[in-house]
Subunit: 508 residues, 2 copies
């Protein structure tokens, strides 16, 4: 038993050391997006490169592999010690998963991939600005080839795209996504068509001139209500809002204040706050092991969307917070009834830009991207034909077609970063969130009344006890079954949207 | 020649790698003092420890020693290659100096020293708060012993204190400081006595309620006038103002806004700005070599004091900036004539706290500390007798004696950090600054007129071309001779103070 504990602790120690180095790396990233003087970017790249190389060296070190192999057969996955708890066994499996992913990719490939995507993100930014897909196309071509190669290195059973998906959403497969997304697309299109028959509510009062200081103050108030404390978290500003869980008790979120659009900041803060709570409520004593990490991008996104949409776009939430918002921005909002406000923040309307999409159309943007990615990886789609296919699908799914590629297939940074397989996790996040929300409603049938009084802490606590405290003890599938009693499906999401928008638009 | 260049470049590459790691370490420090959530301090300590250990490992690596030994005999200091420039030879000597300092201290000693001082700084903070010297005494005892041991490890010719001085001020010796400080003390005491016969001007208008936002705005304006750009520097707030030159084009300064005391922030910003310009104007292409580092704490301090006192406490400077200050804080200052303001910011008055001391009394605080440190290291003074000797010397030099140790011998953090030999560099900074200022006045006899118009850039450029651009190419002594034509003495400082305060107080 002592020897067992020794071996596990030894592995945990090595892993903790890597986690500490990674947390330093994360501070470099956070600082780059928040406070780094612009001319210091060249040196920041050197710092980041140096730390990344140190981390890679530790992850691929012989002593790490040896420590892991003492407890789990790296080849077969067989647990080599019977004295471990189920949580420890789960951790070992995740350690092995990460280890295999790291060692399967040759260093030379990792370097080429990093160099190519680094160039590509710069070129993409120019191409987007100048609406020049031809400029970006050769880089995208290279990246598609590299991603195919990556899939080959990592290995897969059915489809090369599975290997890429698995990087972001463990055990997710193309064959699971195809029917799921197909059913989802059909239901969303139907709902969108029904909503499209109704007049679009006004939201002009959400635009105008909103004081920077007041917006920040309101954002801080929301985080406080979610249970954040200043002694273990912070909110700053950056071009793109994000959450960086640097270290235990050091959760850093950012928002972007748009003086012209009141709700951007608010929804960004609720979204990043959702990620932030996940980070805050991971078990600190497991720091440095998979038991103190989030399960997957999809599950992480479910937490942010839970707060941003299911709570943050709900009437009970605003029954408490709208009077406060009115008070802060009385010039614009004093004459606006809460029902009018509620309709305005829930407008459904096809649009070109994914990140501005509403709850109904958002996943249609994702499904389109998934289909293109899959076709590119399969070789069924040529890079040069991407804009045409993009525009056709936009017309098919959303009924609109972008006049140029800047607001079409060039809008997202993901492909230039080589992040094929990432997009689906956004929609998975929405589906997980809705399914988890059903379980939450069963546990707290009176949630509306509590939320109306401004009580949000019981939500945080429920999510922490159901999801956060386990870290990566379960796979996404295991977790969702454990929390909700069934495998993931599109039904709860569709049901939620139907219920909400039928009432909102007086449909049927 | 190619081989030569190869060996030098190889050493520079290794050293640059260490510098990059150190710059990451510095970001951790900066963040800790500015934005770190308070509960994250435990994890920050782990991050700092991890990086410190990595840096130490690289500095003491066999490959670094080997690369150095190819160019300079580590034992004797003999240059082993004749194809190097004089700047490169100087760099090699500095690399060797640093290397010897690092390897002469055994790892176990470094660890004990770090642990002891880490404990001691915590205990010191409590002792200061509770005015309990007896609590701190056993730690100070240990630290004095460790510093003696350190001196033995590092080696010295005449006096063990020389080895400690040399850590902060290369080649400075006790035998040089004793007569220098003695003459300085006598002259300062005489001047202080003369000034003491005059009534103390009023400065009540510098205290009250000064808006935080306006104070920050004025601080930013000063930095802009000194030539800082936001694209390569920043100003934040911290408990104790500092300047952290994290990396090329990434100079970070902090200030502290005291709503009750207008000038604290202003002089802090001019002071840290002086350090900051030194950092900004080091040659970027030499990054990672001694040619891109500041020479010594004393020379670095001379740059901060140059801006804070010689420029920032001068009448020409305020002829330009006082109207701006009046405009920003018109409620308090609109009725105050510039001459009244100038007298108020130059009040000379013995006080207990070093960091609040004026230009005349400041060095008396330092001389007192030097004498105590020297006596402690020599074993002439027992730790238990420190308070008594402190209070006696305060009475002798400043005519006042603190009622308790919190504002006496417990006021500074330095001893708890084991930084014996550090204090003298503050006064050396003042002396260097005054002597450099004489050279500056010779080069720009019309400096007053230019500064009155708000032009400060010619000062920055002169300091950059005379001092900053050389990095550590010269020792402090070589530099001061090169810039001023003579070795360091107290005369220029005394002369400057006499000239200034005779006029101000209508003495003689």
């Amino acid at each position: 038993m002592n020897k067992t504990k020794g071996a596990y602790e030894k592995l945990h120690d090595l892993s903790r050391h890597i986690a500490i180095l990674s947390s330093v790396y994360q501070l470099l990233e956070w600082d780059q997006e928040t406070y780094l003087p612009s001319d210091a970017i060249f040196h920041r790249a050197r710092q980041i490169e140096t730390m990344a190389s140190l981390i890679h060296k530790e992850k691929t070190s012989a002593r790490f592999a040896k420590a892991l192999q003492e407890l789990i057969d790296i080849e077969t996955g067989e647990i080599l010690n019977t004295n471990l708890s189920s949580a420890q066994i789960a951790a070992l499996k995740e350690w092995r998963r990460d280890h295999l992913k790291t060692v399967k990719l040759p260093s030379s490939f990792v370097k080429t991939f990093a160099q190519t995507t680094s160039q590509a993100t710069h070129i993409w930014a120019i191409a987007k600005k100048t609406n020049d897909f031809a400029l970006f196309a050769p880089y995208l071509e290279k990246i598609v080839n590299l991603c195919r190669k990556k899939a080959d290195f990592l290995g897969f059973k059915e489809h090369p795209y599975d290997a890429l998906l698995d990087l972001f959403e463990p055990e997710m497969t193309t064959s699971f996504l195809i029917p799921l997304f197909s059913k989802l697309r059909i239901s969303l299109s139907e709902l969108l068509k029904m909503i499209g028959t109704q007049p679009i509510p006004s939201d002009s009062f959400l635009h105008g001139e909103f004081s920077h200081a007041r917006q920040m103050r309101f954002a801080e108030e929301l985080l406080k209500a979610m249970g954040f404390q200043r002694s273990s978290s912070r909110l700053d500003e950056s071009n793109h809002p994000f959450c960086n869980g640097i270290a235990p008790k050091d959760t850093r979120m950012t928002t972007r204040i748009n003086p012209d659009a009141l709700m951007n900041n608010i929804f960004a803060v609720l979204h990043e706050g959702g990620h932030g709570l996940y980070h805050q409520d991971l078990p600190e004593d497991q720091y440095g092991s998979p038991l103190a990490e989030s399960i997957s991008l999809g599950i992480d996104e479910s937490q942010s969307r839970f707060w941003e949409t299911l709570i943050g776009h709900s009437l009970p939430f605003w029954k408490c917070f709208y009077p406060k918002l009115q008070k802060e921005f009385s010039e614009k909002l004093s004459g606006i009834h809460i029902n009018e406000f509620y309709r305005a923040i829930n407008i459904v309307r096809p649009s070109f830009i994914r990140i501005h999409a509403d709850e109904v159309t958002y996943s249609l943007h994702i499904i389109l991207r998934f289909e293109l990615e899959k076709a590119l990886i399969e070789g069924q789609l040529k890079v040069k034909d991407v804009p045409q296919m993009w525009n056709e699908r936009m017309r098919d799914y959303l009924g609109i077609s972008p006049q140029d590629n800047s607001i079409g297939c060039l809008q997202d940074i993901h492909w230039s970063m080589g992040a094929f397989g990432y997009f689906p996790t956004y929609t998975l996040g929405n589906l997980y969130a809705a399914q988890i929300f059903e379980a939450f409603e069963r546990a707290y049938s009176g949630w509306r009344e509590r939320v109306e009084t401004g009580d949000l802490l019981f939500i945080r606590n429920w999510l922490a006890s159901e999801i956060h405290r386990y870290g990566r003890q379960f796979t996404p599938h295991q977790l969702i079954v454990k929390v909700t009693g069934k495998a993931l499906s599109e039904a709860p999401y569709i049901h939620y949207l139907h219920r909400k928008f039928t009432a909102l638009y007086h449909l049927e």
